[in-house]
Subunit: 466 residues, 2 copies
Amino acid sequence: MSVQEQPSLTMDLNEAAAESIGLSDARIADIIAALHEGYAQDLSGLIASLSTSETVDLIQKIGTDDRKVLLDEFTDFFDPDVFSELDPDLRRDTLSEMEAHKVARIVSDLDSDDALDLILNLDPIFQKEILRKLSAKDRVTLEEGLTFPEDSAGRLMQREFVAIPKFWTVGKTIDYLRAAAEDLPDDFRDIIIIDPAYHVSGELPLDRLVKSKRSEKIENITLDTTHTVPAAMDQEEVAMIFRREGLSTAPVIDENERLIGVITIDDVIDVIDEEAAEDILKLAGVEGGDLYRAVLSTTTSRFKWLFVNLITAIVASLVIAMFDATIEQLVALAVLMPIVASMGGNAGTQALTVAVRALATKEVSETNMFRIIWKETLVGTLNGVGFAIIMGLIAALWFSSPLLGFVIGAAMILNLICAGLFGAGIPIFLNRIGADPALASTVFLTTVTDVVGFFGFLGLAALFLV
Amino acid sequence: MSVQEQPSLTMDLNEAAAESIGLSDARIADIIAALHEGYAQDLSGLIASLSTSETVDLIQKIGTDDRKVLLDEFTDFFDPDVFSELDPDLRRDTLSEMEAHKVARIVSDLDSDDALDLILNLDPIFQKEILRKLSAKDRVTLEEGLTFPEDSAGRLMQREFVAIPKFWTVGKTIDYLRAAAEDLPDDFRDIIIIDPAYHVSGELPLDRLVKSKRSEKIENITLDTTHTVPAAMDQEEVAMIFRREGLSTAPVIDENERLIGVITIDDVIDVIDEEAAEDILKLAGVEGGDLYRAVLSTTTSRFKWLFVNLITAIVASLVIAMFDATIEQLVALAVLMPIVASMGGNAGTQALTVAVRALATKEVSETNMFRIIWKETLVGTLNGVGFAIIMGLIAALWFSSPLLGFVIGAAMILNLICAGLFGAGIPIFLNRIGADPALASTVFLTTVTDVVGFFGFLGLAALFLV
């Protein structure tokens, strides 16, 4: 159900609108029921009536067995775009089980960027088999695309674009567009202005074209601050340029500065989404979006990260073990010590997340990095003092020992200072040495806040209490 | 330095390109030096030569004192767009210190959506003062905008759009656009097709217009599957529709289904960015992007979250305190217990992050929610068994007690099963009851994995070991 079919449009429509996004559970249930009863006739009609995004919803949301039946029997009813919008893991699994000539038919129906994306993660042998079944033109385009580095502008761009010389007039341009209509890309927003050597000299948004008189020279209405993108540029940088400069199209150039494709804003939205998802998942130690991965493959990918964390936890235990005699004398220490470590971990994660996010949006550089670390350290110190007072009072009353309250308070301040300092400092440092701050920061930070938390608290206790 | 000014464009240009994004630290240092030495003349030229995004970089990255001088003395040299692209916290602080007539001048130079965004978070009294200084037309537009709910389509849309009736021809449309060029929005990609009552009947992308003959009827080339958006719809839903349907423009309609504005894809990119940032920050307990907030205000906003976590940690301590006699007899328990709790916390966070992300992208619904929770529980169980063996062996060897190894192994399995079950289950449950899964899930999850971890391990130890 699309939004404009809502029976009435009142201000409290928010929820109904939210419900209307995507295929409803009721309709999915109907389709599954039909699938189980084998009403192939009804189903093909039902499936053909779904929009691309609804079909994607259906495939992604149903169970593995139903999905297999659906894909085996109804692939021919799916729009090729369905496959390019499917979750990457699920797409790879699905295509891998299809015959090469069927995949080739899907590939040849897609724009060059989507086609490349589709075959990218397939098994190299299967990939070659598919390429062999394509037209020579499609094959060459895709093979060229595969030569660009992963996640580069070259992989992201589409080869279909509209380019004209700057000495044309508005009238000549419109006449050309009308005459060539059949051969032009399905959907374009800007015309690229080039010289005879295919060097980009500017960009012409279509609204400028239609607002101008036929006699107007193209060069007079062209935007000359074009942001060209080298094919090797990382897609994250491309997204950043689009965001910063508010672009809708960017021409992509090769090593000789010749125009070879364009990147459009809808490709960039996918990148922004992907990168944002990556950061949030990496911070938690999850590889890619593994929502549709099989249980075993998910388990092994998660295992690695948990194993690294186990080592961290054992290091923390070794610190505790240093003070086993102290704990034996005063078991209250064992009761209270997780509080100090946990508060440090949480305060550190706050600082770390802000820093990782600021690094991702390029808001951190030499100019302000020490200022950011300093600020987080101050915030940690102030919250440390606050929680030292609260937790100090609680501990003093709970175990009737003012000295114990003093010890936990002092440990809390120490650990929250470290949390701020290292929470902001670790990702910034990792970024400086070229490592991925989202991936490794959490492990290092936890080690710091656990070790400082346990060592600080138990060490001070050993000094003052026993 | 923009990308196309790179001296050479080779395949290993990635890094240089990355460096070239934004204002370089060296140039910022030059500007700060000039600022300190009071070379106002040089500076005004230097600042006027910066692009909008470079100016934003400059303002955001320099220290508070330098920023104050820069803003006090050079505001008039800034493009109005600089203010609309500034970090929201920083923008509010900056504008609040300016005189109302200056802010009014900036507001009147912006598109209606950016203007609204600018005055939105200002003090209501100051806001009214600014509105009074605007032209009647601008004031009415903004006052109407303020009546829409926060984060709604009505706040996001711009009032400037191009709309024509469907019975026109391509020729008449182009003639109209040429004649009205001065009054049209600066930048538009689609024309909205309306009936005399301002009801939307379709959308015409400009490339379809320029590809068609002058005699062609508009209704023959119009896309009739227009996705209209009610003004009250939440911006997150709007972004979802743009993503799912691959839109570049969506008409916004009022309660009477009349066209009142358009939302364009560049507004949506901001929303996607914002929402992605929000989720990652919320999971860590950080309010908004507080990178540019003052230390005290950051401290108090972080304090709240840490306080909730303190209560969680105290609950976990109460569980430990139940077993103080057991720990007194076997201090190895105190050494090992944080490992069980920490592994549960980390495994749970993995499941939780995947679920929060899937909820944000609407990939979870009734159809598959139990399947997702079940899968995460299975993954937790399998990893639980793996780490039970590893940690069981380590503990048995470390403390020469096979029984201790068995106890920690059993507790590990129990806690990782709960981690999977609750890690996926808590956010999905919170979402069902209408709560924000990103905001509250972590606290609940930590409570579960801490309590189960400590209770399971110490409880089993009390049963079997002492």
